[in-house]
Symmetry: C2
Subunit: 206 residues, 2 copies
DNA sequence: GCCATTACGCTACGACTCGTAGCGAAAGCA
DNA sequence: TGCTTTCGCTACGAGTCGTAGCGTAATGGC
């Protein structure tokens, strides 16, 4: 999650340290106050910057929180555990660990809710959070095909639909388990999810 | 979704019409303004009641929106289409139709986000929204067992875990598809979801 | 080394929302 | 007719919002 500013040739550059401090302060404020309690004035004080600096860099609370939460997903990687099932379980457990953190819990759903009425925000979420997750699905699928665990897909359109379905099933299940049912997505649960998903995919491919 | 007030023997009773008008006004305000734009003053004006009346009945915005959104799920029923697969597809399509409505989209995720920091609100959501959905899963499972489509479950603990998993997978997938991926959960998609889910359950039961 | 340019911290501001208090009137029940 | 509770209305202090203005700090170009 690297923010890029137009490379202005001259003038004082924006402090990169301020960005870091602001996003960290935003996450801490999410933990302490939750989404509705979070105010930009408070974040500014926590980060040790002026409130006006915040408004110079972000359009508002929504955009700020998206960026702050997006950084949490930077750590997501696809482990190589030798089999498709093990790979899925590994990445899902990472995802679950992120969703267990309070700054993710209160921030993520809130921006998704706001995004239902804001096309630009939806695009920002897609680019900085969703696409990164989806890339893991594609990579895992490709690797499984190379291993011979999944048949190579010829039809690109069918393949894209399959990836979309898997993605929504995996991410949706974990999010729902964690945030709605409010129960931990622990190893046992993830194992059950993976088993149903994989045998379902194998069976429905035939 | 019937609101119950303590049956006070005497005094002027609360207007039931006001409840109806307030909840309808809340949903319309969600459509027009979204979660963050919704104010209780505005809802009061739309409903034609005084702002103080709102505060006498609901503790705040969160509780009001939960009740307003919960009414949307009243229409969920388990259809009898003759097979487990068809039943699931039917109820999922109903669920998707509700989530396609803007008042549900902007309201549901917002209260879930708020609930991450509010135990009482979480309980309110569980009782008025989540449990009702889960009951459909249980009913569908029971009916399928009676039909012989699923083996009767002896172990109550295993059965409960299976129901929880199915519930999170179905509801989570539809919510994620609709609100995060922002694509319609249409018949084709629901059909794919059902196929993967059912063959996965059948295979993993062995 | 000087200058143009941009970012920063600070203060102040009007507009708005929040949730509550107080009051008289209305609507039921005995 | 009394008693009780709800209702509509007004007013209020507290807090937040996003912006404007100004002097200062930190760069790159010359």
């Amino acid at each position: 999650m690297q923010r890029r500013y137009p490379a202005s040739r001259t003038g004082r550059p924006r402090s990169a340290a301020a960005d870091t401090a602001i996003l960290a302060a935003t996450r801490q404020a999410l933990v302490d106050l939750g989404w509705s309690g979070l105010t930009l004035s408070d974040v500014a004080v926590r980060a040790g910057v002026a409130k006006t600096t915040l408004y110079r860099r972000w359009a508002g609370k929504n955009e700020l929180v998206v960026d702050a939460v997006a950084e949490l997903f930077d750590e997501l990687t696809l482990p190589d555990r030798g089999s498709l099932a093990a790979d899925i379980e590994g990445v899902v457990l990472q995802f679950a660990a992120i969703l267990a953190r309070p700054e993710a819990r209160s921030g993520l759903m809130a921006v998704v809710a706001e995004a239902t009425r804001d096309e630009a925000l939806r695009e920002r979420i897609r680019a900085s959070i969703v696409d990164r997750q989806k890339r893991l699905v594609i990579a895992g699928r490709t690797r499984a095909q190379q291993r011979g665990e999944l048949p190579p897909e010829s039809d690109a359109d069918r393949s894209a639909r399959a990836v979309d379905l898997i993605f929504d099933m995996v991410a949706g299940s974990v999010v729902h388990r964690t945030l709605v049912s409010n129960q931990p997505a622990d190893e046992e649960w993830v194992h059950g999810l993976t088993r149903v998903l994989l045998s379902g995919l194998a069976a429905s491919a035939r």
